[in-house]
Symmetry: C2
């Protein structure tokens, strides 16, 4: 049994941090939750929603006396934040983060972590297209994977404690090294997001099809792309800039493959298209069997619409 | 007031046709529903579900005496089907279809339509990733657009009647010419589907990321692509082969745009990325305001999961 945390500092009060707070309450955790965010507006909103016990003005104040510090800011802001809080971290505390890119975070944050403080990066594979302190909800992590970045140097007790914490929030916890994490996420998340952003941008740019038509007739497939492409712009800018190599590698593969399919369309190779589409259908079945999506048609959206 | 149809022939008994039958029953239509499908297995399945009054073995039998004939087969099969049923169509009947491509269908079907029979092509912008006679449900068309292809030559009474029919099934009805339809759908549906198929194919092909990882960690964005890429392979093969020009045009624009974003990533142009992602976010808001999607986070999927 690992001891629960007594005081958790949430730095950054967006979708992930607010959902963590709600999920902690749901789990009956008694830890004091201290929150802070860079903008006074965000702090005021978070205070209104009321998911923190205390909201303070600076990260230095937030981390004082905390045994768990969660960096929940865009990936590009992690390094400077770590430098700022480092002198104020309590001995024995665990610092973790929730950034979507791990190699960059490790490189930027690790050098600032003082002796006697444990840094265990993490990434919850959960999110919605909404952002900000009002967007959080307790169920966000339920049955979703939380990836922790650990190696032989990681303190086993600190790791057990953080793992138990995330399990209590509803997540399934797995371990991975930072490089492999960034490649896997480039495939399952970063490249798909860039592609969705691109397609939505193309639709918006078309002179011969009106915006009104694109919006009105979006139910034919496009709207699923717009949901992805509605995600937080700052967060995603940072993801692409900090996971550049893996994202560009996957996009290169994607373009190759897209050209092969375009060629099949141009030359009328129906067999190639049919075989390709049959293969991709099987992957969907795997995801449903793994419990990572619902089998309800259209995500259950159609049935609940009326 | 246009007279309701007395006998409706559904040729092809997949998702769309079975949903039409369920929606007709829900609307209290008294028309006799006669169905047929090419494969005996499909006919047997449809008989088991029981959404037709009669199931017959051939399209010739199905159309006899029907005042509405619905061609609900893959786009590539429409021409041969029209040729086969032409001599058996009742005078004054309306023939429509539900294909995703319109110019090709008009070109293939029109020449076979006898004098005194009305051909009014149509396309319901509704669907799910499921297919077959068991996948239909009455709510599929609710609040979704149904596009009818009509011009000055179209009989106004026949058009009113078909429009009223689709309105009663729950749809919003709009008119469009075939070429413009194919371009709009290339943007909102055909290109997005090809892109989703491609991305899922790339993930499946990656040697350095296992299938298990792709499936397990799909919730980070990828699973929305797999839903789209799980759609019926035959239907989609035909869509791409018959809407070749518009699809290739949009894919060309998409590739251009993707290269511009890749370049911004490579050169570290964060401002360009941020501006782009901010613009695409606004389109999502338009779609929600137009009632074509839910604002619930993650399509409401997360909340109903547990």
């Amino acid at each position: 049994m690992s001891a629960p945390y007594a005081r958790v500092a949430l730095i950054g009060l967006g979708l992930i941090a607010s959902s963590m707070a709600h999920a902690m309450r749901r789990a009956g955790m008694t830890a004091e939750i201290v929150g802070t965010a860079r903008s006074a507006g965000t702090r005021a909103e978070a205070a209104e929603v009321g998911f923190c016990d205390r909201i303070v003005d600076t990260p230095e104040e937030a981390v004082a006396g905390a045994d768990l510090v969660v960096l929940a800011v865009p990936v590009g802001a992690m390094g400077a934040l770590a430098e700022r809080i480092a002198p104020h971290l309590a001995p024995g505390a665990t610092v973790t983060d929730v950034g979507s890119v791990k190699r960059h975070v490790v490189a930027e944050v690790s050098p600032h972590i003082p002796e006697g403080v444990h840094f265990i990066p993490g990434h919850p594979l959960a999110g919605t297209e909404h952002s900000g302190p009002r967007s959080g909800f307790a169920e966000l992590f339920d049955n979703r994977w939380h990836l922790l970045i650990a190696d032989e140097a990681t303190d086993p007790q600190a790791l057990d404690r953080l793992r138990a914490y995330w399990t209590d929030l509803g997540a399934l916890v797995d371990m991975m090294d930072a490089d492999h994490h960034d490649l896997v996420l480039a495939v399952t998340s970063h490249a798909p997001h860039l592609i969705a952003y691109t397609m939505v941008g193309v639709a918006d740019d078309m002179r011969r099809v009106t915006d009104q038509e694109v919006i009105q007739y979006s139910a034919a497939g496009f709207r699923d792309f717009t949901r992805i492409a509605a995600s937080d712009p700052t967060m995603w800018r940072d993801v692409f800039l900090t996971n550049k190599d893996a994202t560009l590698e996957i996009l290169g593969r994607f373009t190759e493959e897209l050209f092969a399919l375009q060629r099949a369309i141009r030359t009328g190779d129906g067999e190639m298209l049919f075989d390709y589409f049959t293969r991709t259908r099987a992957i969907r079945r795997g995801i449903i069997q793994a419990g990572q999506d619902t089998d309800a048609p259209d995500f259950g959206r159609t049935k609940t619409k009326r």
